[in-house]
């Protein structure tokens, strides 16, 4: 059944996206619909059987036991199968709904991971999380509540009307009058209470905001002795919230359940009256009245349900729209086909780069790094050091210019070859709550020998061997806690596990302890000559042995040379930075002496 609710015309794409899932599993849909129809048929048979029972037997005082028993057995069978069919049908619809949400969630999540880095510059993580979890949850309501409830109740309503029609067409029309009456009552309610409900919601979020702000600012409130004033403000807000809720409860008490119940009593009156007329004409059967009374009891409920679900429908469509937009974001460009980095010769040619137009981050950069060389990049925060690494990792593409690896464009390499050919040691050592093995493997499916070799290169193998479960030792919250230096070693092993030709090292900004510094230092010395390395350094002492040190300032290389060359240049920025760090050490010394 195609349900097109209000406001869906401009959300056509979202709607068809969501509807696709309904048709996706056709056998399941057909099964669910069949169950629904059978359940409704079995359901409405009950009162008809009761009618026959009353009119043909009780009223005629015809107590023929076998027929009576047969009727009762029929009745029992019809009702039991209605219950069973209804249960099965509900589960089928739930199944469809959950399968759809599951698929949308998976799609949205894996899609978002493939979006280019640029997308994340402007996106707020909290919002994205909410789209993947909350919004998809709202879509679930669309399927479970809206489709299933509305569909079920519409068909039930239809079934009841048909059964009523079979029994007595005139009385059916009395019952039909209920439909417009209930619908108009509910629409009247939504119109009248809309403002009050919106106001209640608004005040509710204001109360939340107020409490949250007061808690954060409590020390300020107390230090300035303003408690009374703030208590008064809160209590005013609290009171308006109470008033607003009273207004909305008035509307709902006047128009929802009580009014609908009143309507159904009125319909009851109408039916008995109409029946009375037929008695006068001599055409009435008491059993019909009995059946109508049982139908009527089930008539208003579906109507009220259907009308109330339209609210949910609108909310779900808004959520669906947001998810749809997310899924429609363009993914990262697929990369090239070259499968391996051979030597690790790096060439930055004439690179210009900006995140936002007009704010250049890198300017006219030309760097040529021969295979196996160690280059260090230093400079102030915001000088463009990390951006250089971002370009190499292909998180961003240069605005102009090219990055060449072994004289091939970066974009000609496959995703896989870049990930295994370029190792990254990030600022924060990130440890998974998993085994040491998995922490080095990181899901790349490496061989045991490769893992062990990497651990050896990072000087971690011997330490791991002394652990009770070796490479299968659990790390993280409930497992073994590694020292800062060991964590760094683990991260180095992880980066080396695929035997990369190029290694990028983003050194931690926070003051690194000497243990960690030594670890990094030793790794750099070991690899020097075999792997091309770019080290973004904050501690100038770790890069003394670099083949070349590039000093970046405002996106330009202003100094370049070996440690000794740069130190020998009077007034060089590098020299001042180095001296500043020396002074920082002197300050630090005094902090630890008493």
């Amino acid at each position: 059944m195609k349900q097109k609710g209000p406001g869906s015309s401009h959300q056509g794409n979202t709607f068809s996206l969501l509807m696709n899932y309904v048709y996706r599993d056709k056998p399941l849909l057909a099964k669910a619909l069949l169950l629904l129809l059978l359940a409704t048929a079995a359901d409405v048979t009950g009162p008809i059987l009761a009618k026959i029972y009353i009119d043909d037997y009780l009223l005629q005082s015809n107590y023929h036991i076998p027929s009576l028993a047969l009727l009762l057995i029929f009745y029992l069978i019809s009702q039991l199968s209605a219950a069973w069919l209804r249960y099965q049908q509900t589960l089928r619809f739930t199944d469809m709904a959950l399968a759809a949400v599951l698929d949308i969630r998976k799609r949205a999540f894996s899609h978002i991971l493939k979006l280019p880095m640029r997308f994340f510059d402007h996106a707020m993580t909290g919002q994205l999380v909410s789209r993947i979890t909350n919004d998809t949850e709202a879509i679930k309501d669309l399927y479970v509540q809206f489709l299933s409830v509305v569909l079920t109740n519409t068909i039930l309503l239809f079934g009841i009307i048909v059964a009523m029609g079979i029994l007595n067409i005139q009385l059916m029309f009395f019952a039909l009058l209920l439909i417009p009456a209930v619908i108009s009552v509910i629409f009247l309610y939504q119109k009248l209470s809309g403002a009050a409900v919106a106001k209640t919601r608004e005040l509710r979020s204001e109360i939340n905001a107020n409490i949250s702000e007061s808690i954060s600012g409590m020390s300020v409130i107390q230090e300035s002795n303003q408690q009374q004033k703030f208590i008064k403000q809160f209590s005013d807000l609290n009171n308006s919230y109470y008033q607003a809720r009273m207004r909305s409860i008035k509307a709902s008490a006047a128009l929802l359940r009580p009014a609908i119940d009143l309507l159904s009593i009125l319909a009851l009156l109408g039916i008995i009256w109409g029946f009375g007329q037929q008695v006068v004409e001599g055409v009435a059967e008491i059993g019909v009245l009995y059946a109508f009374l049982s139908y009527l009891g089930r008539f208003t409920e579906p109507l009220a349900e259907i009308t109330q679900r339209f609210n949910l429908y609108q909310q779900a469509m808004v959520a669906g729209n947001r998810v749809y937009q997310l899924i429609e974001e363009t993914e990262e460009q697929p990369l090239g086909v070259i499968n391996e980095i051979d030597n690790g010769h790096l060439l930055f040619k004439d690179i210009n780069f900006h995140y936002q137009p007009g704010k250049t981050v890198l300017r006219q950069l030309d760097i040529d790094i021969p295979p196996g060389n160690l280059y260090a990049v230093v400079g102030h925060t915001g000088s463009g050091k990390s951006t250089l690494l971002n370009l190499l990792l292909n998180f961003y593409q240069p605005s102009t210019g090219q990055i060449l690896i072994d004289n091939q464009k970066l974009t000609q390499y496959s995703h896989q070859s870049l990930r295994s050919g370029i190792g990254l040691i990030p600022q924060e050592p990130f440890i998974l709550a998993a085994t040491i093995y998995d922490n080095i493997d990181m899901g790349r499916g490496l061989k045991q020998s490769e893992i062990e070799q990497a651990a050896q290169k990072a000087h971690l193998h011997d330490v791991i061997k002394t652990m009770p479960e070796g490479y299968q030792t659990m790390l993280g919250e409930r497992g073994v806690r590694l020292s800062t230096g060991q964590r760094q070693q683990l991260v180095i092993a992880r980066a080396l596990a695929t035997s990369p030709k190029i290694l990028l090292l983003d050194e931690a900004t926070a003051s690194v302890d000497s243990e960690t510094e030594q670890v990094v230092q030793r790794a750099l010395d070991d690899l020097h000559g075999t792997v091309t390395m770019i080290v973004v350094a904050h501690r100038l002492s770790t890069i003394r042995n670099a083949d070349r040190i590039l000093v970046l300032s405002h996106g330009e290389i202003i100094e370049s040379g070996s440690h000794h060359q740069l130190m020998a240049t009077p007034d060089s920025l590098y020299r001042s930075m180095y001296q500043l760090q020396q002074q920082a050490r002197l300050v630090e010394e005094t902090e630890h002496s008493h």
Binding site: A83, K140, P258, L268, G443
Partner: protein, 582 residues
């Protein structure tokens, strides 16, 4: 039922309102009972008419009675909803207000162990759960019980007790099934919530670490991990739906069985001419009315269970004693501070945050406190303001221990600018005049000028009336700090405290503010904490703290000549400044 016991103060206070609501509920239940009865009578009347073929029936009195009844039920239902829900909203309102007042009485010790998120959850979700128990809990308990009893009475007494006994046989099964279902829904719902929060966590984790995910090529693995959690979430959602879907068949099967029994046994009774067809019809309608009580009992258990848990959490906070005892009544007459051998460690900590500190701050002088992060500077300030309780007699103001003064009087002595410059979502003028709401616009502008923020404020769309925060302007860190300084200056308290309150302001503005302060505060004393030594160069005395110990003490000229933290830091910061100029 301990929940209702705990809330008895409220029920006692509003017993009249509750009584009226409950009477109305009882009225509804009774009137509702009359509906099937009247219909039964009408049917019998009609049957007599068809049988006697007189065609002279008058069912109009019944119809009129039904109509009046319908209107009456409507009015009563409207009434009890308004009263019962209104009263429970009132309860929520009172609890929230009390909660807020308690929050205002709690000091740093309390906020350091209770997270904002947790406090928020108690003030909102938990209060809602209590409200639900006091409103719908009372409703379902009372109404369910009443309907149950009344329907039973009618069935037994008015229609036929034997038929009732036979018909009721399936109902205990229904009650038992409802209880089971409601428990399993609750349990699976908890699991579903749990899965949902893990889903949130996983997404949050992956997205905040997106750089690493991409660099390590973990897109596939992350997606797989996400999928498996999603599948678990779908699975537990399915279980919730499965458990919920059981309600319908249970009602259906039990009711059908009851109807079957009624029909068979009723037929026999009619045969024996001990029952009329109309009575049989009304009896079956009464059976339908028994569903709600069965449902209500199951639901009641659930709501009360949730309400009790919520009440415990809220009550625990409402009963938390004031962090700082505020019984003293004295008001200081002067503001000289004298600190002797001050040692302090935070609760649950074994190391002393401050160790054997001694210093004086005479009126009108400037005291500076410097030192590396974590050396105890802010703790010292908080102790001076008695936000934490220190050992008696270690800190004296005007010759007496801080605990001799009322908290209000003590804090009136200080104008404090905290590290994290906090502004409320009100206008800039109101933010500055927070402590002195009666200040004139001129006074506000005067302090804004001293804090070098006047020009900035004038550039905002509505100048001093501009709202701060989401609905207004977003201010830079430096602007926020300067507004907080203006706020403190307006209070004219004897001691001004700047807790690293110039960190986000550039050096030039910092010097300007320091000069303004020197000029405008002659009789008042100041305590300045700063990471930038240039801001405290002019101090009468400077304390150098490292790891809670006083390492050096003296004025700038003395300190600069000693080889220590101060002089080395001074050199470092000058080198840094020079480097930045290039």
């Amino acid at each position: 039922m301990t929940l209702f016991n705990n809330l008895s103060w409220f029920f006692r206070e509003h017993w009249r309102t509750y009584l009226v609501a409950l009477l109305m509920l009882a009225g509804v239940a009774m009137l509702n009972l009359a509906v099937p009865y009247l219909i039964g009578l009408a049917i019998d009347e009609l049957i007599t008419a068809t049988e006697t073929t007189t065609a002279e029936t008058d069912i109009r009195p019944y119809l009129l009675a039904l109509f009046v009844l319908g209107i009456g039920v409507y009015a009563l239902r409207y009434g009890w909803r308004l009263i019962l829900f209104g009263t429970s909203y009132r309860l929520g309102s009172i609890l929230r207000a009390r909660f807020y007042q308690r929050l205002c009485k709690q000091g740093q010790a309390f906020y350091s162990i209770n997270s904002t998120g947790d406090l928020m959850a108690r003030a909102t979700n938990d209060v809602d759960a209590i409200e639900l128990a006091a409103g719908e809990g009372v409703l379902s308990g009372f109404d369910g019980l009443l309907t149950f009893i009344l329907v039973l009475i009618i069935m037994f007494a008015v229609i036929d007790w034997r038929l009732t006994l036979v018909a009721l046989m399936p109902f205990p099964v229904m009650a038992w099934a409802f209880h089971r279902i409601s428990r399993s829904v609750h349990q699976h719902f908890q699991q579903a919530l749990d899965c949902f929060s893990r889903l949130n966590q996983k997404t949050q984790e992956a997205l905040s670490g997106i750089r690493l995910v991409k660099a390590m090529g973990r897109e596939e693995i992350e997606s797989q991990a996400f999928s498996s959690i999603s599948e678990q979430a779908a699975d537990s959602n399915y279980r919730v739906a499965q458990a919920e879907a059981c309600y319908d068949p249970v009602i259906h099967v039990c009711l059908s069985t009851a109807l079957l029994f009624t029909m068979s046994y009723g037929t026999w009774l009619i045969w024996q001419q001990q029952l009329s067809i109309g009575q049989l019809a009304s009896f079956t309608m009464y059976l339908g009315q028994l569903i709600w009580p069965m449902f209500a009992f199951g639901w009641l258990l659930n709501i009360v269970e949730r309400g009790s848990a919520a009440f415990k959490r809220v009550d625990q906070l409402l009963k938390t004693a004031d962090t700082i005892n505020d019984k003293a009544v004295l008001t200081p007459t002067g503001a000289e501070l004298r600190v002797r051998n001050l040692t302090f460690s935070y609760p649950n900590s074994h190391t002393a945050t401050l160790n054997q500190l001694s210093f004086d701050l005479p009126a009108g002088k400037v005291l500076a406190i410097v030192g590396p992060t974590g050396s105890g500077k802010t703790t010292l300030i908080q102790l001076l303001m008695r936000q934490w309780q220190s050992e008696p007699d270690m800190i004296l103001m005007d010759g007496l221990a801080l605990s001799q003064y009322s908290l209000k009087a003590l804090r009136d002595q200080y104008a404090y600018v905290p590290q994290d410059s906090f502004l409320f979502s009100i206008s800039i003028a109101e933010n500055i005049a927070l402590t002195s709401p009666s200040a004139s616009q001129d006074e506000i502008e005067a302090v804004a000028k001293i804090a070098c923020i006047h020009q900035d404020i004038l550039s905002f769309p509505e100048a001093y009336q501009t709202q701060v925060g989401e609905r207004g302007v977003t201010l830079s860190g430096g602007q926020r700090q300067r507004i907080c300084i203006a706020r403190a200056l307006l209070s004219k308290a004897p001691v001004l405290i700047l807790d690293d309150a110039l960190s986000a302001v550039d050096v030039h503005t910092e010097q300007q503010i320091i000069t303004h302060l020197k000029d405008s505060r002659n009789e008042q004393s100041s305590i300045i904490i700063s990471h930038r030594l240039s801001a405290v160069e002019h101090a009468d005395e400077t304390l150098v703290l490292t790891h809670g110990c006083l390492q050096q003490q003296g004025n700038h000229d003395q300190l600069i000549t000693q080889d220590g933290w101060y002089s080395r830091m001074w050199t470092y910061q000058r080198m840094e400044a020079r480097l930045e100029e290039t």
